[in-house]
Assembly symmetry: C2
Homo-oligomer: 559 residues x 2
């Protein structure tokens, strides 16, 4: 059996390695158009930020062996042909035409099975000046090497990153330094528009502001300016112009499907190659996976295009299993995406509230603040967690996290629960590990699930920070009752109209004088005492009582 | 409705607080025999190790308010009576007799519902000298305060901890310091005998040895020696005697059930109060929870006694819900227990292999080494993960972790999966968060699940480090093929008889000369290349080929 794999970065090597372990007799050939193979592309922002010292580190095994052609041949008995492009597939002949990018020579190679692992390429917006010197995507190691060299030569003062997606923000974090000005420009009205709801994204934006990263939201770049010598010197949007001597364009990727399309294979969502649960294309002898193929969303059952290295790795294994005759299939994705930037843990799994509403779910959501470990443990840090659930069934639909604390752990727990169709009630029953350095006795996930169940069952009403801000801005704000203690209020006052301060410790004596029309929203540091106050007041006072979710830990981002 | 709660540390305040939020009109009284209430007992080892500066920190809310009687009254409308012991329950009259421990006065209190949250007390072994000065349990803040004072007065040179359980090791970690000698003494043949299998525990023991903590396993203490002035000065076991001026006895706890027993309530496993899923005792007006009550194990359905603060908190909520008329029940425990000591993440969920075998499961288990984040990320660290599954169904039965890396995150994922009856195959499909600082593209959990599935399906044979050591010690060892590169072998040679060195990079050329009788075990750094080598060899060579699980990362603990 000869298996030809087009693409040598992530999925391709994974298919090859697993197949080799299962079938020592298979002939396995990887065709890669570049010169580098099997590199950790996700580490490129870390390389820019010097958290990965050498580019080679991204291409070495954990024991330091360079994953080059020789490595694949000697360690795994896998042939890799680099600097060679697959030009055409003749499906009837089960043959692929190859062209050497060094000599121009072409030849063809027969296959029993073909695997398309052609990846994706960065989207290049049709922007005047996008081809200028000093304008880069960040996709290939060559891009990162060029950017780092430019910065090391100290020729860079003003960096603009176009696109506030996951990679854009990782790059902003990596390059943020006292010596340079970093500006991030995003056409949508929030950072991470594909990752977070608009009531979570400001938590990230606030952290960027603290680090003096210029953030231009809702700002469409119209032109990159030429300095007259073919180098970029500025960025123009509809409203303004600012200086830039390095521009990184990070507005997403597009699947590489030219070869598949020419061969008449069906394309699916986002123009990615359509595959079934076995990662088979229309052609039973051709598989596709990784960043060039669509995935099925486990929650909605709908095809999606969420290119990720972790997905590519799992898919590669499935293809190898199938080729070796094992019954294996790819379960799909939940849209789990995480990142570290500005010391924050940021991520989501499942659907955002906005996506869930769009998908037709009647949903209920809640933002909760908590800590990643006991507050008396010196190294604890905050987490903001948003849970989204179906209103009637209580089925978990998705979760988002943001905070300095270990939120990704909680996200992994939620991603796991999601894959089993968990309800929010199921989360409350989880027997998670508790010790003071690792969690609170009631873990942040469980605490949030309690709060969402209280809300879903109508035990208490709540309002999000964003909604409260909108009401206040519209001049129709309710009274806000700050139940924090005096020292907390002094340290960090709540600056809104109609604020009343009455510490929870005195509420039971003094609540009778409270104005409750047109409504009263309780407020505290994390939202927990505010909830407690709301529980008390709604039993004592007639009126529209609710608490603000997440407390000052969230509100800070909305002021 | 008057609810009387006996016990004011963990479960009691939790019941009271939730019940207050649900029912503003309930009369809630907590009776506590001590002077302190609602303290974070799990933080006492951290206090000893100065990771919690002041004892009060364990009794304050996250905003710094001391959780004393006044706090419960003013913030929550809950009455707390301290220094008062509940002496007798008259179930027919629904009345409890109380005695003030300060004045000796007795009185009785009628209840509509009674909650027993009487906790547990440290087991005191019947040991000569156990009552000497300088001998302490570590259970109450007073114990910790006395120990810390003794150490601060610099009167302590030699500390012995009796019991290498979770708290014993947390204390050993907290007190290990260049200025003192710390010895841990355990009657069983391993550390953490209730937490880890015997093939995982040596990973912890090795770390203790690195820190110069004296470890005496299988060593039964027979006497604590008196210095003639009523102070402890030494410890004797059957075999030896050593100096000790501070002894901490940490050999487990026993539930406080005197009150329940006298009232004729049934006791269950380990003598703890028997309760149903609603945490109700035999008496429909009496609930019990926390460290004084048994729990149901979610996997086996059997009653167990695993006292933990996280369980107490969840149970407290369930009782409050029931008292408020809500339909709520306690799902049970999975035996999840975690700890941090010697910089290690250590923990388990579900059944250990030894427990699973004892419970009658036909099980298959595997130890896997990996990293908590990408190896090119500067801050990555190692994880050793053990998975236990039912052989035929592949159903996950339990997991254990140990390592400097973030293993507790993986354990929480596994605990979550376990609660949904996951199979090992389900784990392989998890869409966990991947970014280089948080995980590897194939997360350690998924990697381990792959490996266990390969083993379970008979694709490859493996042997644990412990089993290999036993074979070698018995003189019936197989040939061991070390497939690491020369530089790795030079840095950290494998010192066993019959070792052959042949790097994986040369194996495909040179395998023909290998001796395979009476068997060949491949070996590497983490077990991954050894697996790969075994896959290759078993297709090429007739003979009994297997790989050693976990590689040098595990083997180090067995030499």
């Amino acid at each position: 059996m000869r298996v030809v794999i087009i693409g040598g970065v992530a999925t391709g090597p994974k298919v090859a390695a697993r197949l080799r372990r299962l079938r020592q007799d298979a002939e396995i050939v990887i065709i890669e158009q570049g010169n580098l193979i099997s590199y950790g592309g996700c580490g490129l922002p870390l390389y820019l930020g010097n958290m990965v010292p050498e580019m080679d580190d991204l291409m070495r095994t954990s024991t330091g062996v360079l994953r080059d052609r020789e490595y694949f041949l000697k360690y795994k008995g896998i042939e890799v042909v680099t600097a060679t492009r697959a030009e055409r597939i003749e499906r009837d002949k089960k043959r692929v035409t190859l062209r050497s990018l060094t000599t121009g020579e072409t030849w063809s190679l027969d296959y029993d099975y073909l695997v398309l692992a052609t990846g994706a390429r960065p989207l290049q917006p049709p922007l005047p000046g996008v081809g200028l010197e000093g304008v880069f995507p960040l996709h290939h190691p060559d891009d990162a090497a060029a950017i780092r060299q430019l910065i090391r030569q100290k020729q860079v003062k003003n960096i603009t990153i176009i696109g506030a997606g996951l990679i854009g923000l990782e790059v902003a974090d990596a390059l943020s330094h006292a010596r340079v000005n970093v500006t991030v420009c995003e056409s949508e009205g929030q950072v991470l528009p594909k990752l977070l709801d608009s009531d979570m994204a400001p938590l990230v934006a606030r952290e960027m502001e603290k680090r003096h990263i210029g953030l231009r939201l809702g700002s469409l770049v119209t032109e990159l300016e030429d300095d007259g010598k073919g180098r970029v010197c500025g960025v123009r949007s509809r409203e303004e112009r600012w200086a830039a001597d390095l521009v990184i364009v990070s507005v997403g990727v597009r699947p590489n499907v030219h070869l598949a399309e020419e061969a008449g294979l069906s394309l699916g969502v986002a123009g990615a190659i359509r595959v079934d649960e076995h990662l088979q294309t229309d052609d039973p002898y051709i598989y596709a996976a990784g960043d060039c193929a669509e995935q099925k969303h486990r929650l909605t059952g709908q095809p999606v295009f969420i290119p990720l290295a972790s997905t590519a790795a799992k898919q590669g294994r499935v293809i190898a299993d199938r080729l070796a005759g094992l019954d294996s299939s790819f379960a799909g994705v939940e849209g789990t995406s995480v990142m570290q930037a500005f010391d924050l843990n940021v991520g989501r799994t499942g659907l955002t509230e906005e996506e869930a509403v769009k998908a037709g779910y009647d949903c209920v959501a809640l933002v909760a603040s908590g800590y990643d470990s006991t507050h008396y443990y010196a190294l604890h840090a905050g987490i903001v967690l948003k849970l989204v659930a179906e209103r009637t069934s209580g089925k978990l639909l998705g979760a988002q996290v943001c905070g300095l604390g270990d939120g990704i752990k909680r996200l992994d727990v939620l991603a796991t629960a999601l894959s089993f169709g968990a309800t929010v009630r199921d989360l409350a029953d989880l027997d998670l590990g508790y010790a003071p350095p690792f969690a609170t006795a009631v873990d942040a996930v469980i605490q949030a699930s309690y709060a969402l169940e209280n809300k879903r069952n109508g035990k208490v009403h709540s309002i999000s920070a964003r909604a409260l801000r909108e009401l206040i801005q519209a001049g129709t704000g309710p009274h806000v009752l700050d139940v924090r203690e005096q020292d907390e209020v002094d340290a960090d006052p709540l600056r809104v109209p109609n604020v009343i301060h009455m510490p929870l410790s005195r509420l039971r004596e003094t609540y009778r004088d409270l104005p409750v029309s047109p409504g009263l929203v309780t407020f505290c540091g994390l939202g927990i005492r505010a909830y407690e106050a709301a529980c008390f007041l709604q039993s004592k006072v007639k009126g529209d009582i609710s608490f603000m979710e997440g407390g000052m830990a969230v509100w800070q981002a909305f002021t």
